[in-house]
Amino acid sequence: MNKSLYILKRLGLGIPVVLFGLTMSFLIMYLGPLDPVLAILGRDATSADIRQLRIALGYIQPDGTPMPVWRQYGETMLNLFTLEFGQSWIIQRGVPASEVIANRMPATLWLGFWSVVIALVFGIPLGLYAGLRSNTWGDYLASGGGIIWRAMPNFWLAVMIAGSLSAGGALSWYRGLGIETDVIGTPDAVGNLFTMVELFDGVPVLELLFLPIPDLRNMLIAFKWILPAALVLGSASMGNEIRIGRTAVLESINSKYVETAKAKGLSPRRIVVKHVGRNAIVPLLPVIMGEFYLLIGGSVLVESVFSINGLGNLFFRAILGPDIPVVMALVFIFVIIQVLMNILQDVLYTLIDPRITLGETQE
């Protein structure tokens, strides 16, 4: 099947999925036993205020009759799909929800970036190593570690790591290195990473070259803020990668084409990179793509332990608020990304392994 036609078809099939996810969230948030009006107005609200606010939020019509559910639903969906996310009710009252989200996005993206990097950089090589040296002590250590790593609850790991790194903890020796900041708090995404060396009467010389200079001390501090949280967030997928990488390597290493390659006299390095690695990536792909899914769910817990003011924390506070426009906007974004990632995964399959044709991978 033609690639662009296939992608269009998948996008079309994604629409009902997005609709279903959003409808489910709508039913829970709007029809469940929640009363945001009282949460917004507080205890000493007059009934006139309550009535006015209910009209403003679209719960009842100006004549006092309740707004029909289908109209509330239609309006909510229309607003979401036209990217009109409305204004925050509680967290930052009156500020557009999109702005509230955009403010917290960088911290979570930064965290997610590093946790994916950590999971990939440690997980896949460890898995390949365990598979290539199967049934050695190194294998037992790597795969046993992967099994336990996978079973550890993220929130517990986060509490343990944050505790050991803080003053008096088991790992607090690093504080002697001159980085005495805490690990708890919102990491700075890029703001403090770079300094401009000012020369020539205040004209930053590197700015002329359009190149920032990294500030080493600030960089160390920034890494220390982000790495423990990222390690925790990436841990679950890292364990999966070790496990699945190992099996995938074991499966391909015993196959005929590897023997052929050996017989042809290819160097072991070339066999591992070209033949084993490439085929081992195929079963790893869903795990790597699934990381995104784990990141969103896990970020709620990790951000709450490390006090990072990101999207996970925002979602949690918006739910407790209840700040329904922010919740719906976040769910909308998450669901859209999730569906797009699924399509991307199937397209990537064909790039890695040309034998897989589009349209058959829908299973």
Binding site: I28, I148, W156, V300, I319
Partner: protein
């Protein structure tokens, strides 16, 4: 099924096949059954109260589940009055069951805290101990009780399995069934046996929780001020009586200096704490035992519910395919498209003040949410095997004999997918346990309602003390979750290798346990 003709044929292997009901086979050869029953009877007799209690707990949960479903149904069709009636009926019957259960659990049993007490006190500065088992010090008395309970339970589990062997060797209709090979392969699978052992240990915690702790959830955690203890007061120079609550107040683990009661130590009131105390002075071991019960009940209901939904939908989608399959796929993808923990937080926050959040201390609602959001993973996993079996010739044959679709699914498809369902169910149970702990950790009305013990809440209570001497509060509950989840994954691996020894598949989906929370 119909009668067997294999034994009458002249050629081919001859199968023994006995068509009479099982009791007549037992009457013919009562020896093995009687021997097995004698030991089983003795095992039950010494622990009668605990057994009745366990059965009534399950009955209570099932009853609440069924009535809650009726209530929701009546509420949906607008019969508000009827729904309230159901709720009243439910609370009265459930109350009655709880009463009988409490009475049953107070029956004297061999392995109870009454038979082997550990809550004694010293009569002078250096002993001797009174009110403890044989005058031993509390730690020893407690250890003896725990060892006996674990030994008893492991033997009881072994005896159940032995019962199946007796049935298989002496009384079963068929000489051989495919499940025999599965069991035999599992008997040689060390990793899978580790999983079974871990699961058995945690089941023991849930069943014998009240007897395992050095004190009780009711006396130490739920109403400590209505429970009195005695201890030798060095300043007063005599034995004094105070409430458990007052003793808890002076046994807090808050890290600094003398404000810490660590694992395997005594507090100032001569109470032994195997896991130390919580920041509010309550016993962590008792807390964990109480938490095991609610955790396993919730995880059990949830995984049962999602296996039921996933299994039936997998059979339906594989049997009918086409539009039915596509619509189930869209529903499943729609549920999965919202990250599960977010969905869990969303639903439990919305229903935090609803009456359903009071059933089983919030556990019932959580079990329902986990059940209804967890089936898509299981469904995806067993849809493949279900599609395979739907294309088999015996299904075609059954169709041409005029068997109905429901009969075909139940008799020909279900036995085939059960094994796979077990594998994936045991692996996703780990995810449910971690998710449940995560919700209790977040608090704010999510998770199990305090003061009912929940593992995640213990982690959250100890969060600020990890760096100091009170590290045990957060560490131990998490480590127990790690062991349980590892065990469940091992069990899943074991069953998979046993049902399909040639499979080397470690597909992505099954590796979900623990992730995201």
């Amino acid at each position: 099924m119909s009668t067997n003709t294999a034994s009458e044929s002249d050629s081919g292997p001859v199968f023994e096949y006995d068509d009479r009901p099982i009791w007549s086979r037992v009457v013919d050869d009562p020896g093995p059954a009687m021997r097995w029953l004698a030991v089983a009877g003795a095992l039950i007799a010494v622990e009668l109260g605990a057994f009745i209690g366990a059965i009534l707990t399950v009955l209570d949960a099932a009853f609440i589940g069924v009535t809650a479903l009726f209530d929701v149904l009546f509420g949906l069709v607008g019969l508000g009055g009827l729904a309230t009636g159901v709720v009243n009926f439910q609370s009265s019957v459930s109350g009655a069951i709880t009463g009988v259960r409490d009475a049953a659990e107070s029956l004297p049993t061999l392995l109870s805290r009454e038979t082997i007490p550990n809550q004694g006190h010293m009569t002078g500065p250096d002993g001797p101990w009174v009110d403890t088992f044989l005058g031993l010090e509390p730690a020893l008395a407690w250890a003896i009780r725990v060892l006996l309970i674990v030994a008893y339970s492991l033997f009881a589990f072994y005896w159940l399995f032995q019962g199946w062997l007796v049935f298989r060797d002496n009384y079963r209709q068929a000489d051989w069934t495919p499940s025999d090979d599965v069991v035999d392969r599992l008997r040689g699978h060390r990793w899978g046996q580790f999983g079974i052992f871990v699961l058995a240990l945690f089941l023991i915690m849930a069943l014998f929780g009240p007897a395992l702790g050095p004190t009780t959830v009711a006396g130490n955690i739920q109403s400590p001020y209505s429970n009195e203890i005695q201890h030798f007061d060095e300043e007063a120079g005599e034995v004094v009586t105070i409430t458990a609550g007052a003793a808890n107040f002076d046994s807090k683990s808050k890290g600094a200096g003398d404000q810490n009661v660590g694992p395997m130590t005594y507090d100032k009131f001569e109470r032994f704490h195997p896991f130390g105390t919580l920041p509010n002075g309550r016993d962590l071991f008792t807390f964990m035992m109480g938490g095991a019960r609610i955790t396993l009940i919730v995880a059990g209901i949830a995984i049962g519910l999602s296996s039921l939904i996933a299994g039936s939908l997998a059979m339906v989608s594989a049997y009918y395919t086409g539009v039915v399959d596509l619509s189930i796929l869209t529903t499943a993808d729609g549920i999965v498209s919202v990250p599960r923990l977010l969905l869990l937080i969303m639903i439990s926050a919305v229903f935090a003040n609803h009456w359903i959040a009071n059933v089983l201390d919030g556990g019932f609602l959580l079990a329902l949410i986990f059940g209804f959001t967890g089936w898509p993973f299981l469904w995806r996993a067993v849809r493949g095997p279900a599609l395979q079996v739907a294309q088999e010739e015996w299904v075609d044959a059954a169709e041409s004999f005029g068997q109905g679709s429901r009969t075909i699914m139940r008799k020909h498809m279900f036995p085939y997918i059960t094994g796979y369902l077990l594998v994936y169910a045991s692996m996703s149970t780990g995810g449910i346990i971690v998710g449940l702990a995560a919700l209790s950790f977040l608090g704010n009305g999510l998770g199990i309602t305090p003061p009912t013990p929940a593992w995640g809440r213990a982690v959250s209570l100890g969060q600020t003390y990890v760096a100091g001497p009170s590290w045990h509060i957060s560490f131990i509950p998490g480590a127990m979750i790690v062991v349980l989840v590892t065990g469940l994954n091992a069990l899943g691996d074991g069953i998979r290798d046993a049902i399909d020894p040639e499979s080397q598949s470690d597909e992505g989906e099954e590796a979900a346990a623990g992730g995201g929370a």
